[in-house]
């Protein structure tokens, strides 16, 4: 093959993925490692990549300690109840105590944050969210990363991590290919911070055909945060904690500012409030600890998001859909109407396009809401990701192995979607996690832990052959058929993605089964997942762009298998409204008030599952 091999040697810190987590990691690395070689590899263009590529109209995680609004422990309490008791409180507290400094820096760099004219504090749209004009959020933070890194490789898709051959279970860099030139890129690095994206498109989306890319989370978030880590044998946690979003129908427009700032609310088809009708039955299922509407209204402790989904899903299933967002009242105020539209233009333009196309003016008509297909991610309101070490001053022994945010593979760190058990980090929290991982990675190197790394040419060559195999496969079998895309020897990446999505949807609680699964379904699903894995060995890529899609699919497949294994292991319905185990409907705190941890053996593909204690730092 004519593609060149380009080796970048002597890297100290390789940042894999340059969304908000990766930009934070690159930026902070320079402060703690002035003389270190810092390199960023990003599969798109750092100026517009990651989930925040198109912008963001709010910063969803800001304590406001400076304005006397919240302390870190308040945020831990909130995230814990929202996730039904199950979070890594050490990591959450640590992120929360640093996140304000990140946001204050963003403002200094030029990000327009709105202020409340009366109090002078940042304009809140909710207890944790502040409002911004965030169209250029990503380009602004990208500047910071570019100023700090020695080199930024745009359009390089990382497929595998390199492992050290002088010491088992130690990382040594990563490999991938340039999605435009096709060149093979090798990064030899002492430490790697994985800040790649979570997984959209592993479940069959509600959108079809041309519109299949209209999903809630970016379609380019291909689960590489998990694919890279699982492939390297890192332990993962909370992979069963997928998220389902209640959003404006079809456009997936955000509802946060609508509910919280514009004070809109929902009704069923009869114009009735329906949520509270579902609380008595649901309380029996989850227990009063997690659902106590009276206490919630007294203490302002929110009802967990998944339980509100449960009410919406069941109301629709009972034949009282559609659910409407009542916007007609709020939108009579021209100022609120403008905010409502800006909210979409700053982060989900597709929703504005939809309303313009269908003549839905929310001032005169209440738009429909629905629930999305599930997503797997670790930075929004859900906590999938790697089992990471916590900070030394907070973490109990089971959570601590020396370096903050280091995974169970030495020298391999996680931030953003890659760090597990740390939901509600969002954009500012992901950037903060990147900063924390960067400081720890510098310390890891300064402590001499990365000495004597060895990578053989054989390992590099082996990965090279593996990466280009889909193109080779295409070349060999292409001419067996006349034309078209139906071939007995291979499937293309789109066909593989369709199969994966159907499989996850039907066997692992997607939209078409109302998020329901059970032991039997999961076992069948896992069997089919193994067969799909065999077919992925025979995937064919016609060109470099398809090669990118092929590797995205492989990362999505690894992610999906982990989701199934975790869902099977946790024999309860911990998050009703996100998914249901039909054979174990009740929340079972007796046996399952624990974090789930998995490891996939990179050699055999076998999974080992275990429970880890759930430690609490904060009184209720």
């Amino acid at each position: 093959m004519a593609y060149k091999t380009i080796i970048e040697d002597g890297i100290d810190i390789l940042v894999a993925g340059a969304g908000l987590g990766g930009t934070g990691a690159a930026f902070e690395s320079r402060y703690w490692g002035k003389d270190k070689k810092i390199v960023v590899a990003e599969k798109a263009n750092i100026d517009r990549s990651g989930a925040v590529a198109q912008g963001l109209y709010a910063i969803n995680c800001y304590m406001g300690t400076r304005f006397g609004e919240n302390n870190p422990e308040d945020h831990v309490r909130y995230a814990r109840i929202d996730l039904m008791g199950m979070v890594r409180e050490d990591l959450l507290f640590d992120m929360a105590r640093h996140v304000d400094s990140t946001v204050h820096q963003f403002e200094e760099w030029g990000l327009p944050l709105m202020r409340n004219p009366k109090t002078g504090a940042y304009q809140r749209e909710g207890r944790w969210q502040i409002m911004i004009h965030g169209e250029s959020y990503k380009p602004i933070v990208a500047e910071a990363a570019k100023k700090s890194a020695d080199k930024v490789f745009n359009r390089v898709c990382l497929t595998h991590l390199l492992m050290d051959e002088s010491k088992p279970n130690r990382v040594a860099g990563a490999v991938g290919f340039n999605v435009r030139t096709g060149n093979y890129h090798v990064f030899k690095s002492k430490a790697v911070i994985v800040a790649a994206g979570g997984a959209s498109n592993i479940y069959k989306p509600r959108s079809v055909g041309e519109g299949a890319g209209r999903v809630w989370y970016a379609p380019w978030s291909s689960g590489s945060a998990y694919g890279l880590l699982i492939g390297a044998g890192a332990k993962m946690t909370q992979m069963e904690n997928r998220i389902v979003l209640a959003r404006f129908k079809d456009g997936y427009g955000p509802v946060g500012a609508y509910f919280l700032h514009l004070k809109t609310y929902t009704q069923n088809c009869n114009g009735e409030e329906y949520e509270s009708n579902w609380w008595p039955q649901l309380q029996e299922m989850v227990g009063k600890e997690y659902l106590d509407p009276e206490a919630s209204s007294l203490t302002h402790r929110p009802i967990p998001t998944c339980l509100r989904n449960h009410a919406l899903i069941n109301e629709v299933n009972a034949g009282r859909g559609p659910i409407h967002m009542i916007t007609m009242e709020a939108f009579q105020d021209p100022h609120l109407e403008e905010i409502g539209w800006h909210n979409f233009l700053g982060m989900t333009v597709g929703q504005a396009v939809l309303w313009a196309a269908t003549d839905v003016d929310p001032k005169n008509e209440n738009p429909e809401l629905t629930t999305s297909e599930p997503y797997v991610m670790g930075s929004h309101a859900t906590g999938c990701g790697a089992w990471c070490s916590g900070p030394e001053d907070i973490s109990p022994p089971e959570y601590f192995w020396g370096y903050n945010r280091m995974t169970t593979v030495e020298g391999l760190f996680g931030a953003g979607d890659a760090a597990g058990g740390t939901p509600h980090a969002f954009s500012s929290g992901s950037f903060t996690e990147g900063r924390l991982a960067a400081k720890a990675a510098c310390k890891y190197i300064d402590d001499g832990k990365a000495e004597g790394i060895r990578i053989s040419d054989e390992q590099i060559e082996q990965r090279r052959a593996e990466i280009y195999k889909p193109m080779e496969h295409y070349r060999v079998y292409r001419n067996e058929i006349t034309a078209g895309s139906v071939n007995p020897n291979y499937i293309n990446p789109r066909q593989g993605l369709d199969r994966l999505q159907k499989l996850m949807d039907e066997y692992c609680g997607g939209v078409t089964v109302s998020y329901m699964t059970n032991d039997k379904l999961l076992h069948i699903g896992l069997k089919k997942m193994k067969v799909l894995e065999e077919d992925l060995e025979k995937i064919a890529a016609e060109n470099i762009h398809e090669l990118l899609r092929a590797w995205e699919l492989k990362h999505r497949h690894l992610t999906s298998e982990a989701v199934m294994q975790h869902t099977l292991f946790r024999k309860e319905t911990r998050w009703p409204g996100y998914y249901y185990r039909g054979d174990a409907m009740k929340v079972d705190d007796q046996n399952w008030h624990v974090l789930t941890v998995s490891r996939r053996d990179p050699e055999t593909g076998e999974y080992t599952m275990e429970k880890a204690p759930c430690y609490h730092l904060v009184e209720a």
Binding site: A53, I140, G213
Partner: protein, 160 residues
């Protein structure tokens, strides 16, 4: 679609190809103009639309639910630091113009070059502080939050 390129406006400069986060804006080898090679992986993020210097890229809503005849156009002006939107409904009854700031300061100028900052002390390295902390957390006095400072203790197991 959803993004598409007007043949008469595109001059093949490639800025959309450079910026697309989904790697779907490519050059056609025959006419040497950009086009969307994979509409079903397009997020309508408008990155290419904003980047195009000739206003050659537009969006037509997804065919599975959006009828024809609408328009959501945008102009992003980095020098003035503003972004302008114009939304025209299908039935022509609503025609809105909305303006928002994209940055409050010139690009890049206020982002510190960390290589030029003073070397962090050993004490700083041993602490839990990040760059500019604790000053930037509260922007006044006061240290970093710890378990002790906030009166917290570790406790395992069921706890709400």
């Amino acid at each position: 679609m959803p993004t598409f390129v007007y043949m008469t406006r595109c001059d093949g400069c490639g800025q959309c190809v450079d910026i697309c986060p989904s790697d779907i804006m490519h050059m056609d080898s025959v006419v040497r103009r950009a086009y969307n090679i994979e509409p079903n992986m397009c997020w309508e993020c408008y990155s290419c639309v904003k980047a195009c210097p000739h206003n050659a890229i537009d969006v037509r809503g997804y065919a599975d639910f959006a009828p024809l005849g609408h328009s959501v156009r945008v102009q992003r002006d980095e020098e003035k630091g503003v972004i302008a939107w114009r939304i025209i409904f299908r039935n022509g009854e609503k025609d809105m113009t909305l303006l928002a700031p994209i940055t409050t300061k010139p690009w890049g100028k206020y982002i510190p070059k960390l290589a030029d900052e003073t070397e962090p002390s050993q004490e700083m390295r041993d602490s839990q502080h990040l760059f500019n902390e604790p000053k930037y957390i509260r922007l006044d006095d006061g240290g970093l939050h710890t378990l002790e400072s906030n009166g917290l203790k570790l406790k395992a197991g069921v706890y709400y």
